[in-house]
Symmetry: C2
Subunit: 336 residues, 2 copies
């Protein structure tokens, strides 16, 4: 059943990535924490509960409007911790450098990591540097891992999602993927499209403290909103429905997606989270989010259905409905 060679699609966050994770990693490494397939593993460490996560960044180009590899390397890891109800405390950095990289390019990434870490309130406490021969890597890859302290009283897990829960997102989707593609291919798209790369920890930590009723939060990166909601549907077992009209997408990004033939639902973000919560708390959560710099355009975009089919439905403005399945691969490779 399995293809014999790893293709780009296996690394894109879609169905093939999920298949690889389940077939290779979950099967061999199998343990309670890993098998939950959340953005971070939560584990007991002595008297504390910590969240622990890792991500490698291979984005090309290294810089793009609104961010660079350093910024997303810190934001992505910080956000993975925060969506599990953890306060990010420390981040590690592992650099794999292609021989011949300009030292200034490396320094720019380092300075960008420093700024993002300061914004997120974490320290970069440990690191590693490897250099490989010219042609054996692509300029610079960065791995970051992170540890955080889980806020007491929280129980944030996709398994807790229930029918009737509302789905909230903190702002406009798909900007990151379009910004990277624009920079990579010199498309010259108009409208000043910038990556949304941002550390969401302050906002999400605030929500976790204030609303222990929040069921689940997920970082919406590779594969976009549709992929993350499909994963949440699969993990919880419940179907979900979102309304196309309610999903925030900026006009320039919508136009760019239309020109490029991309579905914004599947385009990567680096500063977006979805929140699942009982409906009765929805408006309070929404107002709390709107007070944060990165939540001003937060919106309720859908709900969890009382249907055990683990599917994602999209209601269109004209009232019709379609299924948004998990794609085989990403529409765009090396976006993060």
């Amino acid at each position: 059943m399995a293809s014999k060679e790893i293709t780009l699609a296996f690394g894109s966050g879609g169905r093939l990535t999920n298949e690889l994770i389940r077939d290779l990693f979950v099967r061999h490494f199998s343990n309670k924490r890993l098998n939950e397939l959340e953005d971070s593993a939560v584990l007991r460490l002595g008297r504390e509960r910590i969240a622990f996560t890792t991500d490698s960044y291979v984005v090309t180009p290294l810089k793009f409007p609104g961010g660079d590899i350093g910024r997303i390397a810190v934001c992505g890891t910080v956000n993975d911790l925060a969506v599990k109800g953890a306060r990010p405390l420390a981040v590690s950095c592992g650099f794999i450098i292609e021989e011949g990289l300009e030292r200034g390019t490396l320094e720019e990434a380092v300075v960008s990591m420093k700024k993002a870490a300061a914004e997120a309130g974490v320290e970069i406490v440990t690191g590693d540097t490897k250099v490989v021969e010219k042609g054996k890597a692509d300029k610079l890859f960065i791995n970051t891992s992170g540890v955080g302290l889980v806020i007491p009283g929280t129980a944030i897990s996709q398994k807790n999602i229930r029918p009737g829960d509302v789905i909230i997102i903190n702002g406009e989707i798909a900007a990151h993927g379009v910004a990277v593609l624009n920079a990579r291919n010199n498309l010259g798209l108009s409208g000043n499209i910038k990556s949304d790369a941002a550390p969401l920890s302050r906002m999400l930590n605030g929500l976790a403290v204030k609303f222990p009723s929040i069921r689940s939060m997920r970082d919406v990166t590779r594969g976009g909103l549709a992929t993350v909601l499909n994963e949440a549907a699969q993990s919880s077992g419940w179907s979900m429905e979102i309304e196309e009209e309610l999903i925030p997408v900026s006009e320039p990004v919508r136009n760019a997606c239309s020109v490029l033939g991309l579905d914004p639902l599947y385009v990567a973000n680096e500063g977006k989270a979805v929140i699942f919560a009982p409906e009765k708390y929805a408006s309070k959560i929404l107002s709390a989010m709107k007070k944060d710099k990165y939540g001003k355009k937060a919106a309720i975009i859908g709900r969890v259905l009382a249907e055990k089919k683990a599917s994602l439905k999209v209601r269109t403005p004209i009232g019709s409905e379609r299924y948004a399945v998990m794609l085989e691969g990403e529409q765009l490779p090396r976006i993060c």
Copy 2:
């Protein structure tokens, strides 16, 4: 002062790596934990002290006698935690895969990680997979990060090293580097030379519990014994002296180094640690180490001098003395 391009030597664990770490990472990320430049950062997390570390593995070839990239990826990280007096609890894995890699090759690495993790008593709890285009990586790179719980009562730090302390190593050095080089270049060296890749956590955790008087422990990997002792000398300020005759090197490895023009003191290991302890505990520590599978050939190899010059002296069998300085780069690139 700084070269404008990153060369292979910057990633080899020698003087240039140290210079890069200090000039870029310590300068920009500066914080108490990072600046200690130990194998793991130790940080307070709620009511606990944890150790946190990261390493990327870019070894070529992926398999070699005595180990493979998967085994060293787990052992290296576990050992980095254990030398700081921490019980390794959880490891993350970040895979960067070159498009076209055989799935079977990836699976072999995964299975090897699983076995090493089982031996070390840790779980691999979280991971990430990225795939880059053919020619943009070299088959497979693996990052592992790890967290561990610091054993209460321990205060293991290079800063604690004192004149008169003895230096103990757990066995024969330089096998890893020679085994990888042999496999890489089909040198056909005789003597069944195998990498020493091993998780030392059970042995080192036992020592940390039993001997709170241990001052410091260091993982002896890239750059070999001479580099790690130079780093310890720099961090503590004290000069150190080792006796060439006392340093365990297997006969085949010694012969191979001689043929290849390598100094075993600078060749990488993946299952070696040096321990600094007051002399009066030395024989007890040594007996405890010899009871462990990975400590049978443990030996006292030198001592810390009452001389604030931060240098490393090597006494030869004929009674002469030479300085073993930190090399610019590794003798061998991509050894781990």
